[in-house]
């Protein structure tokens, strides 16, 4: 008998979750506890030695978080996942498994401003050196490869410029260089793009955004594709060499194709400490149950708003990959045929002042520094999320001074458009 394969919406509701053994509770309980009792000393030793499946302490793992982890791993087509306190924490934990001081990683310039800051400043202080490439020019990735390169980092749909990255082309560079490709899939979610299907080895999320989807909880996820051979050479000793913390266990030898996720948990999360609250995990899980419905509506609304803005006389340009004629439209059709996401930018003929005026005139849109909420959101990146970059870097990141970024919510699209209409007239 061949197994029938459940679809995406079924996985979004069921993967990882099962009625609670003790109470029969159908919704995933919030296991709001720091610690879990051991059966006996031998059981405790087995758990601490990574020899048995089970829970020890919520900084290392928690049953509510585990449901979230398995669900996102299932939706992304990965072998395992790890939930952490934020998207930024996911980046620190994932890269700490790969880089030693003096090492390099290549990143596309087209990134969320917070990631650009983290890579440029915080990571620099760890001795992890980012080398920038241009997401629109694959040859710049090839040129950036050096013997010290340990990973390549891109966003699938890039924030805020609305660009779509040619994941398969970058993956080819990564494979040739013998390093893993890390894809931040926050803006697309696996509903729109599954980067592992296109060659990603590690997928990261700020689950705060569309996965959670309701603007109420911060969380991050690391997904292990199970595709990278960490033991091919001695580049990744955290995975291939005996770990003194665990009596000389070699993680890849012991855990096979989910060794990276385990390493992130038992070395990264355990020692760096950015554990996710089980309550937040519950909120993100609840959001994910409606992910396919929400993402489709986000995309449909965003497309309608982008089309309407394109025809508005006050608007200079709309950067939405879902529009015909956009430079990323072909890539969007290939990688995200269901829709090009709900975050995009546009520029106004009136420049910086018109942008500031628009933001202050809007009544339905919330002016804040988040994306992927049920509510429509607006921000002026040049003065906020990307304010720490110089003007050239802002423009390269798609956040020039005349740019306004929106995250289109789930309200009636006519109400969203009416709010923009009155604000542009004002």
């Amino acid at each position: 008998m061949t197994d029938r394969l459940p679809g995406f919406a079924t996985l979004a509701i069921h993967a990882g979750a099962q009625p609670d053994p003790t109470t029969g509770a159908r919704a995933t309980p919030i296991y709001q506890t720091t610690s879990f009792v051991f059966n006996d000393a031998d059981h405790a030793a087995s758990l601490f030695g990574l020899q048995a499946f089970g829970n020890i302490y919520t900084r290392i793992g928690n049953p509510t978080n585990a449901v979230l982890e398995e669900r996102v791993a299932a939706l992304e087509g990965g072998t395992a996942a790890l939930a952490v306190a934020s998207g930024h924490a996911a980046q620190v934990v994932a890269l700490q498994m790969l880089l030693r001081p003096g090492d390099e990683f290549i990143a596309a310039r087209q990134l969320y401003g917070g990631s650009i800051n983290q890579f440029t400043h915080a990571f620099k202080s760890f001795g992890w050196n980012v080398v920038w490439a241009d997401g629109d020019d694959i040859s710049t990735f090839e040129q950036a490869v050096s013997p010290r390169t340990k990973a390549i980092f891109i966003e699938s749909l890039a924030n805020p410029g609305g660009s779509v990255t040619d994941i398969e082309a970058v993956s080819a560079v990564a494979r040739k260089a013998g390093v893993p490709l890390i894809v931040d899939n926050t803006l697309a979610t696996p509903y729109l793009i599954r980067p592992i299907d296109h060659g990603a080895d590690i997928v990261l999320h700020s689950a705060t955004k569309f996965l959670g989807g309701h603007g109420n909880s911060i969380a991050g996820i690391i997904v292990d594709a199970g595709t990278f051979d960490w033991s091919r050479d001695n580049k990744y000793p955290m995975l291939s060499e005996p770990r003194p913390e665990y009596h000389g266990i070699k993680l890849q030898e012991t855990f096979g194709n989910f060794a990276f996720a385990i390493a992130c948990r038992v070395l990264g999360l355990r020692d760096l400490g950015p554990a996710l609250s089980p309550f937040n995990a519950f909120m993100i899980l609840t959001g994910i149950e409606t992910l396919p419905l929400r993402m489709q509506r986000h995309c449909d609304n965003a497309r309608a708003v982008a089309e309407w803005l394109s025809a508005h006389p006050a608007v200079a340009a709309v950067n939405y990959a879902g529009l015909a004629g956009n430079r990323y439209n072909n890539l969007a059709r290939k990688y995200a045929p269901k829709g090009a996401g709900a975050v995009f930018t546009f520029s106004l003929k009136g420049g910086y002042d018109a942008g500031v005026s628009l933001v202050s005139n809007l009544k339905l849109f919330s002016h804040l520094a988040n994306i992927g909420d049920t509510r429509s959101l607006v921000i002026h990146p040049a003065s906020t999320t990307h304010s720490q970059l110089d003007d050239a870097a802002k423009t390269k990141a798609g956040a020039g001074p005349d740019i306004v970024r929106v995250s289109i919510g789930l309200e009636d699209k006519d109400d969203i458009i009416a709010d923009l209409d009155q604000a542009l007239q004002g």
Binding site: D3, L5, A225, T227
Partner: protein
């Protein structure tokens, strides 16, 4: 048969069907993967036999070591090879000399020997390579989900309270055959680089 990926039903059939497992290369050192895979399978109710000529006279979680497969005093359903790939051929030859024949040859995670597999299959045995029975049992029962691992199975039935020594149901709904697309790619990469 294709040994890059396995259908869940194939693995499930093996783990539901076998009772006696001889683990060749079982280590008495309690931090080695063979030790804790052995211990886990014993706790889940399998009749485990540790095979290691250097350890005869000692025992592993209460089970006495034997020197070779031929020294086992009862029929063996499955031979789990916890040795390097080069040792697999001779071990399969030895397994095929047993009466009655074992039903399954299982080579551990990281161990693959296609010639040994072909020989076992020609004799009517089932073969699994480059997998760990502890991980597969944990995956199909979803016990491994505590580690954030994708079990690739679903169930809307109330989960059992996992207690020591309990056998778990492996009969959940499978989500995706024997592996993800990712597993296929990793296997292809290994072939390409070999």
């Amino acid at each position: 048969m294709n040994h890059d990926t396995y259908d869940d039903d194939y693995i499930r059939g093996i783990l539901n069907g076998v009772k006696t497992i001889a683990m060749v290369g079982a280590s008495p050192v309690n931090v080695r993967p063979s030790y804790f895979a052995f211990k886990y399978l014993a706790q889940r109710g399998y009749d485990m036999i540790p095979v290691n000529p250097g350890q005869v006279g000692k025992s592993l979680v209460g089970k006495p070591f034997v020197a070779s497969l031929r020294d086992i005093d009862r029929p063996v359903d499955m031979v789990d090879i916890f040795r390097n790939a080069d040792a697999a051929l001779a071990l399969v030859e030895e397994a095929l000399s047993l009466t009655p024949l074992p039903k399954v040859i299982w080579m551990q995670l990281g161990v693959r020997n296609d010639k040994a597999a072909a020989m076992a299959e020609a004799a009517g045995l089932k073969v699994v390579m480059n997998r760990c029975p502890k991980i597969e049992y944990g995956r199909l029962s979803s016990e491994i989900s505590w580690m954030g691992v994708n079990s690739r199975t679903l169930s809307a039935k109330r989960a059992p309270i996992p207690t020591q020594g309990m056998r778990l149901s492996l009969n959940r709904v499978s989500v995706g055959g024997g592996g993800t697309g990712a597993a296929d790619r990793a296997a292809q990469d290994k072939k390409d680089s070999a």
